[in-house]
């Protein structure tokens, strides 16, 4: 073999395929590839003719052909057979067992024993003394008594019992499957089979709405029942049910809605109150705007648009007197003092004081004497109105005094004592409200400034208060101190009427937006309760003087009577219960009931209507 050392190292020799050299020698000179000019034919001839062709191999490093010797060929053959390369190596030599169980007379090693195997170990001594010290100190216990108690423990010992209870309580069982019924039988009784119409209806129903999710079918025998096609789907739905079963309990407040309504007593326990129409007072030819009743309850007076005032006997509906006044009667008020027989009537620009000459002769005679006993003061006083004594002709009709205002008068009301009366003029100036004293024939305007259109005024029944209702507010003035005491917000758009409880601590206001506001003056300046029972505008409200009743009349032709109990106990709020709707008036000109009024002693209510009648409900 040529000693050519190629220095390229272990690299793929293909890299030098296209070069003339094959690498570099130790001196760094190129090692040229041996000239190979043999073609295929030469190769073939070589293969056929050269007897050593089979043992010739090419050296990749040099590219020279090398002819293998016999030993080399033999080695190759041995390696090919998987034998050791060395011919002399015997893999099957007999084994010598040096460390056997058999005791030999000669030891394998004859070395003498170590010194340390004869003397006690210092390290061990140190360790033992540490342990002994720990035992002495009680840090460790030798021969600790064995704990015989079982080695398991209470897994839930430290758990909060409430949480367990809660968990049990909160357990939501999965919805149970409905047990199969007769309709699921392969041979259901005929009543379970669907008729044609039922089947049609079943098909038209929404899937979720169907009572049965299959159509019951009949088969001759169990063998004929086919495979159920919806099985997988139903299993899936069942899994959905289980999976979607709510894991959280919603705390639903279980309250009966009826319990939330305040407990009101039944109307029939609140008797007496008017329930039926008893009498109709016929005679007026136009709408009856206003009503008033004598303090004794024997006589009723009504004013109408037909220009008359009529006096009626209450118990028979007999018209005792008709007084033509020549104008629309806007308001009428009977003097509340039982010892004075006087009626104030608003006609256009004047207030007439009329002695009806009904009832006790002594009384109405005394009233005349009282009016006649007036002595005019020496000096003329400046008054906002003119007091005129009635002429002889008027006197014969019953008219005693005329208070002439500058503008049309729309309301008149008496003070409880029966001497003072207040009138409301439809005007925008500060002279809207006037207070008159009938015995001294003296009038004054209590307000310096106008606070809006005054709708209604009222005197407090016992204390020196004066109530003035404008469109949205009710102002309470103290007449003695001459100051504003309170201002009530009605929450209504336009107040039409007002009435005061005989106790004096409660007020009701009716409004044109069909609301009735009850004010408790001790509670607040806002309505204690706002009742919306009427369908249309309220025209009039009234309190009963003795019974816990109040009534409201409306354009819808009905009178609603409510029980309104006011307790002496300041802690108890008034009890308001609507008890009766009274109907009877015919709606004319889009107007129903114009005025309501209670009888002073009986639980009866009068209503006057746009149909020209007055009705008594008992």
């Amino acid at each position: 073999l040529q000693d050519i050392r190629n220095t390229v190292g272990n690299i793929p020799m293909e890299w030098y395929q296209d070069f003339p050299h094959i690498g570099y020698d130790l001196d760094g000179k190129k090692i040229y590839k041996p000239i190979r000019n043999k073609d295929e034919l030469d190769m073939f001839l070589e293969k056929m003719e050269n007897p050593d062709y089979w043992r010739t191999v090419q050296d990749k490093m040099t590219g020279a052909d090398i002819k293998l010797t016999d030993e080399q060929v033999d080695l190759v053959h041995r390696l090919q057979r998987g034998q050791f390369g060395d011919v002399h190596f015997n893999p099957y030599e007999p084994a010598v067992d040096f460390f056997t169980h058999e005791v030999m007379i000669h030891p394998v090693t004859n070395r003498p024993a170590d010194k340390r195997s004869f003397i006690p170990s210092l390290i061990e001594k140190e360790k033992v003394s540490k342990l002994v010290h720990a035992i002495k100190m009680g840090w460790i216990k030798p021969r600790k008594p064995k704990d015989d108690s079982p080695s398991y423990y209470d897994l839930w010992a430290h758990e909060d019992p409430n949480s367990i209870l809660g968990r049990h309580k909160m357990h939501v069982p999965a919805p149970k499957m409905k047990l199969p019924g007769h309709e699921e039988s392969y041979n259901p009784p005929p009543e379970y089979l669907l008729s044609e119409e039922e089947k049609l209806a079943w098909e038209q129903q929404e899937v979720a709405e169907r009572k049965l999710n299959f159509v019951p079918q009949r088969f001759g025998s169990l063998r004929q029942v086919p495979a159920y096609p919806r099985f997988i789907q139903e299993r899936f739905e069942r899994c959905l049910d289980l999976y979607l079963c709510p894991r959280q309990r919603k705390m639903r407040v279980n309250v009966n809605p009826e319990d939330l309504i305040p407990k009101l007593p039944k109307p029939r326990d609140l008797q007496p109150f008017p329930t039926t129409q008893a009498l109709i007072y016929r005679g007026h030819s136009s709408l009856v705007r206003c009503l008033s009743i004598s303090p004794s309850g024997q006589w009723l007076v009504s004013g109408s648009d037909d220009g008359t005032v009529r006096f009626w006997e209450v118990c028979t509906a007999r018209c005792m007197k008709t007084l033509p006044v020549g104008g629309v009667v806007k308001s009428i008020a009977w003097n509340p003092n039982p010892t004075i027989c006087l009626v104030a009537i608003c006609v256009e620009q004047s207030v007439l004081l009329v002695n009806p000459c009904l009832g006790d002769k002594l009384l109405y005679g005394a009233t005349d004497q009282l009016l006649e006993s007036y002595v005019a003061p020496e000096e003329e006083r400046v008054q906002p109105v003119r007091w005129v004594t009635a002429t002889a002709e008027e006197h014969s009709k019953g008219i005693r005094l005329v208070i002439q205002h500058s503008k049309a008068v729309k309301q008149v009301t008496w003070h409880g004592k029966g001497d003072y009366l207040a009138s409301v003029v439809s005007d925008n100036s500060s002279m809207q409200v006037l207070i008159h004293q009938s015995s001294k024939r003296w009038s004054q305007s209590p307000f310096r400034r106008s606070k809006g259109m005054v709708q209604v005024v009222l005197f407090h029944p016992t204390r020196p208060y004066f109530f003035v209702a404008t469109q949205r507010y009710v102002r309470i003035y103290n007449l003695l101190k001459q100051e504003l005491t309170k201002k009530l917000m009605t929450n209504c758009k336009w107040v039409s009427s007002m009435a005061i409880h005989p106790g004096g601590d409660n007020i009701i206001c009716g409004s044109y937006d069909s609301k009735l506001a009850w004010f408790d003056l001790d509670l607040s300046t806002r309505p204690y309760q706002l009742l919306r029972h009427h369908k249309r505008a309220l025209r009039s409200v009234a309190f009963h003087r003795r019974y816990p009743l109040f009534a409201s009349g409306s354009d819808d032709g009905s009178v609603i009577v409510c029980h309104g109990m006011v307790y002496n106990d300041l802690l108890q709020n008034p009890l308001l219960v609507p008890v009766k709707v009274l109907k009877g008036h015919v709606i004319t000109l889009d107007l129903g009931v114009l005025d309501v009024l209670f009888h002073p002693t009986q639980p009866w209510v009068f209503s006057s209507g746009a149909d020209g009648t007055i009705r008594l409900y008992t």
């Binding site: 007496p272 008893a278 009498l279 004794s296 028979t316 005679g365």
Partner: protein, 416 residues
């Protein structure tokens, strides 16, 4: 089921009657039995009573309502059916009629035109008694002789006038003017001796007056204060003052009557009926209702009070009872206030009532659900009714008409 009678007696043998049979069927049955016993028997309509209740529906329904067992023998009484009242007269007035009282010969009415009127039973106007200055609310007879009669009229002008009517001359003269009330006098009643009368007024007072005419004038206390007024009314008799004043009512007195020789019964707007001792003026007892009383009537035959109030019921009261249940019975068929009630003077079970629903009803207390007859002649409110001993029913009202009905005076001849 047993049937029995007296005048039309049948044998006391139990019969079985179909349960569904009504009064007409039973009536036919009785008539058949009577015709079998008596050849010249004429058909008579009967009415039937079971335990004192009139049969007004099929037998089975009645027994179910009254809780009578159908297993037992039921005793059915029968009476001759009451004839319907026959209308006789319609007397026209000038104004509303506030009161009516009739005797054997004459009818006295109080009228809203401030007069009282005397009529003959035939409806002929005999006399107009004018003198009051206000509506006459009540008018009653005091005494009747062939020559002269005494009568009383009460008015809204707070007086009661005692009149003497000379029948022959047909002249009336005011004997006494009874002054003292301070309100309209709504009701007067004369006692059984015809010497006293009692008046009830709107001023809550009852006053007892003498009804005997005298020539003296009682001195009025405040006469000096009002000489003018006194002169004006001088022509209507001598002034008379009350013998006694009974006060206790808190509201107007609407009706008074003498329930006994010395007992006055008054009904008031204060929802009470009070019984007074006329001799001492003490309050004996109080019957409390819950409505205003308009009218009260007493029957000495059955010792019951009947009251009409401002609702649609007529209530029967026992004035003697002291325990709680004062209302014995309610008769309900009217639809308006009962303004007037009057017991029959001859029959212990019957009464008539007038109401604001324009109907006069004739009642038998044994049939409290439905009246015997409705007399629906009035066109307006009925204000007063009366029943005379001769069997005349009278009713006056706000339609200015006084209706008279002849009602055969059947004594309480129950078949027994």
């Amino acid at each position: 089921t047993v049937l029995c009678a007296c005048r039309y007696a049948v044998e006391d043998v139990p019969f079985s009657v179909p349960a569904a049979s009504e009064t007409t069927d039973l009536s036919h049955l009785i008539n058949k039995l009577l015709a079998a016993g008596n050849v010249d028997h004429k058909y008579v309509e009967f009415d039937f009573l079971i335990n004192g209740q009139f049969l007004r529906m099929p037998l089975v329904a009645h027994m179910e309502m009254e809780n009578i067992s159908t297993e037992e023998v039921v005793e059915i009484e029968y009476v001759e059916k009451y004839m319907a009242p026959q209308p006789e007269e319609c007397i026209f007035h000038d104004d509303w009629i506030s009161s009516v009282q009739a005797t054997e010969e004459w009818i006295l009415t109080g009228c809203y035109d401030q007069t009282a009127r005397i009529w003959s039973l035939e409806g002929k106007s005999i006399l107009t008694v004018a003198g009051h200055t206000e509506v006459v609310k009540d008018a009653v007879w005091v005494k009747q002789d062939s020559l002269s009669c005494l009568l009383l009229s009460a008015s809204m002008d707070q007086t009661v006038l005692l009149w003497e009517w000379n029948v022959e001359k047909n002249k009336v003269k005011a004997l006494h003017c009874c002054r003292g009330h301070a309100g309209s006098v709504d009701s007067i009643a004369v006692d059984s001796t015809r010497t006293k009368f009692c008046s009830g007024s709107w001023d809550k007072m009852l006053k007892i007056w003498s009804a005997v005419p005298t020539d003296e004038e009682d001195e009025l206390e405040e006469a000096a204060n009002r000489p003018r007024k006194k002169q004006k009314t001088e022509q209507f008799g001598l002034t008379r003052t009350p013998l006694a004043t009974l006060s206790g009512h808190t509201e107007a007195v609407s009706s008074v009557l003498w329930s006994d020789a010395e007992e006055i019964c008054s009904a008031s707007w204060d929802h009470t009926i009070k019984l007074w001792d006329a001799e001492t003026g003490d309050l004996k007892s109080t019957l409390t209702g819950n409505k205003v009383f308009n009218s009260v009537s007493y029957s000495p035959l059955c010792r019951r009070l009947a009251s009409g109030s401002t609702d649609r019921h007529i209530r029967l009261w026992d004035p003697r009872s002291k325990d709680g249940s004062l209302v014995l019975l309610s008769l309900t068929s009217h639809t308006g206030w009962v303004t007037s009630v009057k017991w029959s003077p001859t029959h212990e079970h019957q009464l008539i009532s007038g109401s604001l629903d324009n109907i006069v009803k004739l009642w038998d207390t044994r049939s409290c659900k439905a009246p015997l007859y409705d007399l629906a002649a009035h066109e307006d409110k009925v204000l007063c009714v009366d029943w005379t001993e001769t069997g005349l029913l009278l009713s006056g009202g706000a339609d200015n008409k006084l209706y008279c009905y002849r009602y055969p005076a059947t004594a309480s001849d129950i078949g027994a």
